[in-house]
Subunit: 213 residues, 2 copies
DNA sequence: CTCCTTGGATAGCTAAACTATCCAGTATTA
DNA sequence: TAATACTGGATAGTTTAGCTATCCAAGGAG
């Protein structure tokens, strides 16, 4: 175990904790006080740390994702659905959403957008709630938000997704592909957000100047 | 105070907590046991809840942002810098980054990208670290990542930023504009992420089918 | 005049993610 | 072979964030 710790950079007590929590499978016990860990344990630990450190996910979400990745009979589309559901952020719709005019309107906006694009998205997809929450909040706080804008977002997002899928498409083997799709969902999004922040700074520098204008 | 609570939907003890933490200015005291709160307190509360609930930000980050928004002498470009710094996620570079080949290479990749685009971005921008962290993690885990891909991201991100700035550009008054830019940084990004997740589901449905293929 | 409410201060609570201690049983080493 | 160190596992403790709950004295309402 100390060797596993050294190879992965994760402290021994933390590895014990992950074992306890069922995030990491037990090593093969060679005696009452010894167990041997293999390459797959190192990979799994790195995957966990990537999701936690870079993806800022909770261990509960990581556990849900790992279970989906590890179920070989699960179709890839459903596995990705699990990942999306777990990866958060988790929008909280009000309990009595139907009573809330703003929420009803926002749901309608989202439904219109998806229908207009002809996209094949389940009615219960968490991303719908996520988008509705953003729309509600923007409307309530007076930030401009239009269908046109969302359609432009959709075009950009589609282009981005196509690029990511292209890069991962050649991966051989279900297990390998499952792991990469999961990681891609989290890491490519992170990378885009970072690039977007850079673009914002660039535009802000040009628009408002770097001084105290 | 109970009236403020009713108007904003935030429980009285939580308002007291925000007052204690300096997130919300005190109301004007009309006697030892009475204070009156105005429209700006309601606005401020809604802003806090938007950043916390939708932006998933910590109260410490919210405080930093509010302080920047409230400093009228602070140029808008710097104010946005503060927002970006606070809004996270916060990438943790290793302490001895220079010793780490992967990190040096990732930094170089990021620097090349920005230089190639001719963007005006400070050397200490947190988004640089964020992107470098994503690149390091992808390379370590074997996810494909190329300069070409990052340049495509950059083009998409630039288009997105331009759209957002266009929509907010007409805002009158520094205080109003400051608040909107801050909210925009957080909320437009959320909206885009949600749309991107929808695009992913659409593409995944077409690529892998919805069944258990 | 009695009772209720308010603002403010202080203390307590809950959950997540570790971290430390303990222990009995090996493995290592002098 | 005897002493020591280390292992895996179980249990308990720590830290931080973000609230809640309780208490209190002063003031307002009926």
């Amino acid at each position: 175990m100390s060797e596993l710790s050294a190879q992965s950079g994760v402290p021994v007590p933390t590895i014990k904790y992950y074992l306890r929590e069922g995030l990491l499978p037990r090593g093969e016990a060679t005696s009452a006080t010894q167990a041997s860990y293999g390459e797959e344990h190192v990979r799994r630990l790195r995957l966990i740390r990537a999701l936690v450190d870079v993806g800022e996910m909770s261990l509960a979400s990581v556990r849900a994702i790992l279970e989906a990745v590890d179920r070989p009979r699960l179709g890839l589309h459903r596995m990705l659905g699990t990942t999306q559901h777990a990866v958060g952020p988790h929008a909280q719709a009000p309990a009595d959403e139907d009573e809330d005019d703003d929420w009803r309107a926002a749901r309608a906006t989202v439904d219109d957008l998806i229908a207009g694009l002809g996209w094949d998205v389940t009615a219960t997809a968490p991303a719908r709630t996520l988008l509705a929450q953003a729309v509600v909040t923007m409307r309530r706080l007076g930030l401009p938000i239009t269908q046109d804008m969302l359609r432009t977002y959709a075009r950009l997002a589609q282009e981005m997704s196509a690029l990511d899928f292209d890069l991962l498409g050649g991966t051989q083997g279900r297990a390998e592909l499952a792991e990469r799709l999961t990681l891609g969902t989290v890491l490519y999004e992170r990378a885009f957000i970072a690039v977007h922040r850079l673009a914002q700074e660039e535009l802000s520098a040009r628009t408002y100047g770097r001084g105290r204008a």
